[in-house]
């Protein structure tokens, strides 16, 4: 009973706002530490890949960016499900705060993928299931942001955006497998994406970079959600007190 009470307390914007503010510097610090460790291990220590030479080092940002782009979408859909089921105010704000970061991650994944594909496969882009799905994911992010931005009524924006997120989550695997099937039908570019077994330092470098990206995403999303909270709750007493107080 007590746990339940606490959960609701933190879900209320008035308590979450200062909590998020206190947490942001920590997430930034942890992200920087993980990033420096990952870059040191990946860029300075890790050996040359025997197939791809030094070009493989793009993996240290490509894979974390791809992971995060998918993970953030899942988290957003999770928030959307919570918001639709329990009608919590916080979930819609969190989903909106995460979306731009997720879209940027999807973009980075495509960008680094193109720069990796050119020297390795000889093409900036191939119509592989993974690449195509990542592109669609970027479209889904943009669609979500455009939809929520076009609706003035906050409650309706959250609901519509949440439904779109859930529909998108159902569709991503369908899109992935349909593109895969389509690819085999066309017997297109026979690109083998499976990687050679990785040295241990490479794996650790990649995981550290993934942690860095993860913490970065949390920090930026918390920064963004604080602004959204002020904006949405501007008629409440706690925001008025916050604005009247020393908040710069």
């Amino acid at each position: 009973m007590k746990d339940r009470f606490n959960l609701y307390r933190f879900a209320s914007p008035a308590t979450f706002y200062p909590l998020a503010g206190a947490l942001i510097p920590w997430f930034v610090a942890v992200s920087v530490v993980f990033g420096l460790a990952g870059l040191w291990l990946g860029m300075l220590v890790a050996p040359t890949d025997f197939q791809q030479g030094e070009g493989y080092r793009i993996i240290f940002i490509h894979v974390p960016a791809s992971w995060m782009s998918m993970f953030i979408y899942l988290v957003m859909a999770g928030w959307a499900a919570i918001g639709l089921a329990f009608n919590t105010r916080l979930s819609g704000m969190m989903a909106q705060a995460l979306a731009p970061t997720g879209a940027l991650m999807a973009f980075l994944s495509l960008w680094t993928g193109a720069l990796w594909g050119k020297p390795m496969w000889g093409a900036w882009w191939v119509w592989d299931a993974r690449l195509t799905s990542e592109l669609i994911l970027l479209f889904l992010y943009i669609g979500y942001m455009a939809l929520t931005a076009a609706i003035d009524d906050v409650k309706r924006a959250d609901k519509a955006g949440g439904l779109l997120l859930l529909v998108g989550v159902v569709n991503i695997p369908i899109i992935y497998f349909s593109v895969k099937w389509w690819n085999t039908l066309h017997q297109g570019s026979s690109v083998n994406l499976t990687k050679s077994s990785m040295a241990e330092t490479m794996l650790w470098g990649m995981l550290l970079m993934a942690m860095c990206f993860w913490m970065y995403a949390i920090a930026v999303a918390l920064m963004r959600v604080r602004t959204i909270m002020l904006e949405r709750e501007r008629h409440t007493d706690w925001v008025k007190a916050e604005l009247a107080g020393g908040e710069k």
């Binding site: 220590v45 030094e54 940002i61 940027l104 960008w111 680094t112 930026v220 920064m223 602004t227 604005l243």
Partner: protein
């Protein structure tokens, strides 16, 4: 321990310099710009809300 013999080697990335640094550069750029944009957004929002609040209190006082 360190894999590279010289700094020039490091920059050249075994001939893949353009691709590797193009990727890392874009990522660094985005990760630097995004927080700045978010912070500026926040500052503008707070300034606007403060203005609105002041206007409201003035109206109710009159």
């Amino acid at each position: 321990m360190i894999h590279w013999n010289s700094f020039a080697d490091f920059i050249a990335m075994g001939g893949y310099g353009f691709y590797v640094w193009g990727s890392f550069g874009a990522t660094a750029l985005i990760m630097a710009i995004e927080p700045i944009v978010v912070a500026r957004n926040r500052k503008n929002t707070i300034a606007r809300l403060k203005r609105q609040l002041r206007a409201e209190t003035r109206n109710t006082a009159e």
